[in-house]
Each structure stands twice: as structure tokens, then as C-alpha cells.
Symmetry: C2
């Protein structure tokens, strides 16, 4: 046999060489190929840490692609769940570092690695794990002895005006957000975690998404053609993150974690595309090209919410998206959005709003992923008004929803969720 | 108003400057922003030609992303169709070159450009247009006076063993294949062509896809984890392309064109992932890590189809995918595959093969896009046997299908389809 499995403690360079060898060709028993392929190179090699005080994938600069998957837990044994979280954390630490998965292949077993990401590099992969309400109790049953530890902040989200939530895109006892700069790397990682979870968890819903790939420092555009994320708090500002994103001392085992609201939001792109430019800008409250607030010149200048035109009407309309989302209107509430677009081709859809048509439409929109310290003072606070009054609601439909408590990061040798299970 | 619309005849550099200005911020009536954003830079700037003897997107080195869409024609007027093809060709020439679309925005009209690709660059965008049988006649009606010009090679594909074609993923009177190195750029281009076709065409089915992003010169892996495309004829070999891909003198108005078979093929990834490595390699007929034929050492070495083991069994099994696809088995037939993976999240699926289960499964697989001079001696020739005998059929299901006659490339000032409509 050519090559040996990488061992803990090898140098980083050694690990990467072994990684390339394992995944690329030289290690499989009975497989030909005497020369290991060259080391990976280029931007695919960049990594994000897995271990730390916080999970990665939250304040990490957004990668190009996401694969989000929510799972139902199908076991009744607490140890199964804990073992899986440990396995997920171990494998996630390897995948995110570009290391081969533990174990050697043989012809008589299913491969350790499904292999479609072989040679592509870690691609800044992050794997972020979260807990839905069903981990703590389902149908009133405390399956895992965790019911008493359900955080108060892990509420059942209220029904918002306009919600059209499909059961097959809603909920989940666990979730994994896999982000990477390569779509196949993100999908591979999520698929691997699903695969090692057979018998313990079962995928419930999933959605792949992509970012625009704007240049560094530029705000990417979403499928409505507008810049999206201008108002985000700055993930590089620890104070802002401590205030708006990371759970503090109030959180017990969730301290250092964050709450994720995940919602696929379909956008009626065909409808939107026929709207006049001026109306689109009224709906958003910003100029389409520059991203500046209506009446303004530059993307990042403050919104003048009180400014009126000659007739006394607000220049940034009362029911515009930007106004309704502004911290000034929401007692200072802010959430950290890490939104991706999604695109599942076409689907048969009946519109509930004008033009009330049926047919094949783009099954595309926004995979809304928003992080916050507490959803009650974050997403719920902001979205309650928006769901009622936002002019944008003519064009968007929330078709799924999940709220997940994402624990603090794992320590080396530990696992995500240790603060919950170990206590 | 700041800036002026770009004009025909401006220099390329002028165009790009104007493009950045238009799309990026400075031109919209009533929109602020005195300084045009900087020119686009980096790899996003690379372009592929639109005009030429052949359409691009066929022998073009595969881009990272595809958005494929098939349309029904909803008009009965021949001139509507011809006008649309001219408009598509004009806009495609601009989009692929990174130029702004013709026309200036005003607040009182829908925007010329939906804008989500603003600033991202052309990203090697190609737009490839094809004609389905329905352009020539539908339900026996010669809607556009083109029935007599339907090429013999534009057959109705036979029903293949195992086909489970969904009507909503099958057929189409016209198609557009948009490929680019950025997902949002590919989708934007397809969406734009759909948008300018309102009232003439209506999207019938669509599928986004992604490539692995392998390093140049390496064969990418598909979602089964195997290298995919090793046996392709070399697109850089004009002789091979003339023989296998481009329609010759036999084709009349199709001379210089090519036939596209487009099929979304679902892969039962969860099932596949549980198979032993040795069995996976028997199914494919190749080693998973190296891509070498079974019994071989290197990806590109010839398959020894006659080699047997000590018991007299073929080393490359009789019903393996690689053997059944080999030119030696198919009277020399070869097709040029430009396959992408697709991933629509999860779907409710009932398996027709073992393990006969129902539930939520990955709605993912291969968007098979194969080019050939004549489908009768190309895809049909190769796939008839494969559909019956390929061991891989346990894991893959063809869920949609289209066959499209893709005409030769347009000349500058002309349009794709001119050879058909002008004669």
C-alpha cells in the first residue's frame, strides 16, 4: 500500500500532502497510481477555523456558496445524538482544515469519503451546527432529557402576516449550515454529515444558495437587482457583535452562541421585473444602481427618515423596506444577515397577489439566514411590522422557516453542543 | 443627467467604461453618484465570442455554472419568433461581451437590466440557442411555416428503458443554455432572455447546474465522486469536432450547428453512498480515485475491454458504465458531454428500485448536456444499450429530456436561426 494515513500531530504541510494523496488517488487499497497528485494550490486552500469561542460561519466573511440542511432526529437515545454531534465536530474539523476524513478505504466497505470534493481544497469551508426546538421536546415528549434546558430565547416563532410555510421546508431538530467558496465543496460537506448521521438523523429540508460574488468591500446584489446587506452591523466590530449577535451571560450553555433564523423566501421575479424603476426604488427605499437611500448620494450615508418632499410626503416612503428595517424604527434592533440567493429552476406556482396567474415560474429567491443574540429582540422585533406593511411583500413569499440555537464553538477535542450535553 | 448612453461604434474601452457606469451607478435618471465606479477587473472580465461559424457554449471550455431553460412558444406569428431571435442575438452579443444592454433607464419604465449581475463582469458568459420540434410543428399544426424545414436528425427521441420523464421537465420549442463562471451571471442572462420574450415565449423548464471547479487540465468529479468526462472527444481537435459534433453538408440550414440532448438525471446519492467501494468501481468500470480503467493505472490509458481475470470474467464488467459507453462498443459513436451537477435541495421521492423507500431525498444529480452531429448516431446509439444494461441504472433516473437543433453561430448583425428563417 502506498502512503500511510495521516496522524494527529503531523505538521500542517504534512497533513496537506497526505490530504492530497488520500483524496486524490494514492491510498485506496487495490487502486493504482504510484505518484501522489501535487499539492492543492490557489485560493481553494484558504481555511476558516473550526474550533474557537464562537462557531465559524456567522461573522466569517460570506463565502460564495451555502448548503443549508435541517434534520429530524429519528433516534430516541440521547447517547446517539451526543455521539453524532461529536462525530460531526470531528469530521467538520478535518473537512474545514482540508484534511482527509479519518479511516482508510477498502474495496469491501462503503468509501469513507464520497469523494466529489477530492482535490478542490477546503475553499474556506465552515460548518455551523444548530439545535431546533425538537431537540428539547417533540410533541411534548422530552426524548433526550433536555427539555428543562431549552433556552427561553428558542421560542416558537409566531405566525407572521403572509407566511406561507410549507411543512417540507420548515422546522428541524438540528441544522447544518455549510458555506464554502465552491458549491461542490459545500454540498459535499453537508452530504457527508448527513451520511454519517444515517439512523440518527434524517434530512428534513435543504437548500443550496449562492452569493453574487461581488468584489471585496462591495455589497452584493440580490436577485431583485438591489444591493443587499448595506445596513448589516459590521462583523469585524466585536462590540457590535457582542451586542447584536453573540449570546451573553444571560444564555447559560448558549453563551457565545447565536440564534439563526433560516427562511427560504421566494421572489416573484417575473412580476418584479415588470415594475417601473421608480416604483422598485420606492418599494426598497433606496436607489437601485448606487444603493443610496432615496434622496441620498452614497450607499452608506445615513437614511434621512424625516426628510419630506414638497408635498410633505416622506422621501423614504413609510412602507418601504429600508425604513421598516431601520434600527431607528425598531428600538435599535439589528440582525446580522448572511443572505444567499437560491434557484431551483422552475416550479408550478399560483400567485396569491396580482397578477393572480398560474404557470411555471422561477423557483428562486433569497435564502434568508439571519443571526442574532435573541430572536425576540432581533428577527421577531423587526419582522412583525415588516410582514404587515412592507411594500415588498407584493413580491416575496416566505415559504419555509426554522429557528435554531447555535451553541458556542467547540474546543479542540470537544464538540459543538458539549455545553448543553455535558452539564 | 450624468453620463450618456453608450453608442454603437464606441471603442471597446469606451464601451466597458460606459458599461461600468451604466450598470454600476451613474446613469439612472434621478440617481445620485457623480463618480462612475472603477472598471471591472480580474477573471470576471474574460469573454467568449458570441458571433462566429459555430455558437459558443459547445466546444468552449466548460464554465463553472450553467442555467438551462426551455421555452414554449406562445405566439402564432412567425415574425414574433424571428424578432425575438434577433433580439436575443443582439442582447446576447452585448451580455457576453460585458456591454450594457441597449436603451436608457428612466423612473417611469421597467429597468432595461434587472441588474443583479451589475459589476460582476462577463465571466466567460456564453448563450447558446436551440430549436425543439415544436418550433416546426406542434400537435400537427405548422404554426410558423417551418414544418418542411424540420431536420431529419431532429427526431422524436424514443422512449428509453427506465425513462421517468416528467412533462414539466421535458420538451420545449426553444432552449437557451447560459454558461458562465459565476452563477448569478448565468442566471441573469437566462432571466433576461426570458424577460424580453414575454408574450412570445414562456419558460417551460429550467435547471441551474454547477461544475466541480477542478484545476485546469483535470477531469472534474461528478456527485458520484468519480471523474466525469474522461472519454470525451477533445474539443480542441477540429477534426474530432467536425466528425462528432458539428453538422456538416448534410445539414442544410443546420450546417455548422449541433444537436443538444438535455436531460436532468437524478442520482440516488444516499443509496450510492452506502455501496462498497469495490462495487462502485465495478458499476463505473473505473477506479474511483485515479479514474483509470479497472485494471489500469492512469486515467487516460485505453480501456482493455478484452482483458479477463483468472476466472475468465471481464475485468471491466460487461454491464459497467464505461464499457457500455465506449466507442468500440458503439460503432465508434462519440458525443461531447458538457455535464454539470444540479442540486435542488430535498424532494419527496419514492424509489422504484431497492431499497424501495419513500421520504425526503436529495433532489440532486447530473444535468446531462451532450452535443453531437446527429442524435441518431450519437446519444440514441449509445444510450439504447446503456438504458437496458448499465449497472448504474440502479442509481440514476432520467427525469426529463429535450432534444434541440442548435443552429450555426450568428454573423455580426445577423441572428441565431437566420439560416432557417431567412431561406
Amino acid at each position: 500500500m502506498i502512503g500511510t494515513p495521516p496522524r494527529q500531530g503531523a505538521s500542517r504541510r504534512g497533513f496537506l500532502g497526505a490530504a492530497a494523496g488520500t483524496l486524490g488517488g494514492a491510498m485506496l487499497a487495490g487502486t493504482a497510481g504510484a505518484t501522489p497528485p501535487p499539492l492543492m494550490h490557489g485560493p481553494g486552500l484558504a481555511t476558516e477555523p473550526f474550533h474557537g469561542a464562537h462557531q465559524s460561519g456567522i461573522t466569517t466573511p460570506a463565502q460564495r456558496h451555502v448548503y443549508f440542511v435541517a434534520f429530524d432526529i429519528v433516534t430516541d437515545k440521547r447517547s446517539d445524538v451526543q455521539d453524532l454531534l461529536r462525530r460531526w465536530s470531528e469530521d467538520a474539523a478535518r473537512l474545514t482544515a482540508g484534511l482527509p476524513l479519518a479511516g482508510a478505504d477498502s474495496a469491501d466497505q462503503a468509501p469513507v469519503d464520497s469523494n466529489e470534493a477530492a482535490g478542490l481544497g477546503p475553499q474556506r469551508l465552515t460548518l455551523t451546527i444548530g439545535f431546533g426546538a425538537g431537540l428539547f421536546a417533540r410533541d411534548g415528549v422530552d426524548r433526550f432529557g433536555l427539555a428543562a434546558r431549552r433556552p427561553e430565547a428558542l421560542i416558537d416563532l409566531p405566525r407572521f402576516n403572509g407566511d406561507q410555510l410549507l411543512p417540507e421546508k420548515t422546522g428541524g431538530d438540528l441544522c447544518v449550515q455549510a458555506c464554502a467558496d465552491n458549491a461542490q465543496v459545500a454540498m459535499h460537506a453537508a452530504r457527508h454529515l448527513a451520511r454519517v448521521g444515517y439512523g440518527v438523523v434524517q434530512p428534513r429540508w435543504a437548500q443550496a444558495g449562492f452569493g453574487a460574488g461581488a468584489k471585496p468591500g462591495e455589497t452584493p446584489r440580490n436577485l431583485m437587482g438591489f444591493k443587499d446587506g448595506t445596513m448589516n452591523p459590521d462583523p469585524r466590530d466585536p462590540g457590535a457583535m457582542a451586542h447584536h449577535v453573540w449570546v451573553g451571560d444571560e444564555g447559560g450553555w448558549m453563551k457565545g452562541g447565536s440564534y439563526l433564523v433560516a427562511r427560504p423566501i421566494r421572489i416573484a421575479l417575473e412580476h418584479w421585473d415588470r415594475m417601473k424603476l421608480g416604483f422598485q426604488e420606492q418599494v426598497v427605499g433606496r436607489h437601485k444602481a448606487s444603493g443610496a437611500p432615496l434622496g441620498g448620494m452614497h450607499e452608506f450615508e445615513p437614511m434621512k427618515l424625516d426628510a419630506t418632499d414638497a408635498d410633505g410626503n416622506f422621501i423614504i416612503p413609510e412602507n418601504s423596506h429600508a425604513r421598516l428595517g431601520a434600527p431607528e424604527i425598531n428600538d435599535g434592533a439589528q440582525i446580522l444577515r448572511r443572505a444567499y440567493s437560491y434557484d431551483n429552476g422552475l416550479a408550478h406556482i399560483a400567485e396569491r397577489w396580482p397578477p393572480w396567474r398560474q404557470g411555471m415560474f422561477m423557483d428562486a429567491g433569497l435564502l434568508f439566514l439571519a443571526w442574532q443574540r435573541d430572536p425576540r429582540s432581533g428577527f421577531v422585533k423587526i419582522f412583525e411590522n415588516m410582514a404587515k406593511f412592507d411594500m415588498m411583500n407584493q413580491f416575496v413569499t416566505h415559504i419555509g422557516s426554522g429557528l435554531f440555537a447555535c451553541p458556542p464553538g467547540a474546543r479542540p477535542g470537544g464538540f459543538v453542543g458539549e455545553t448543553l450535553f455535558a452539564a
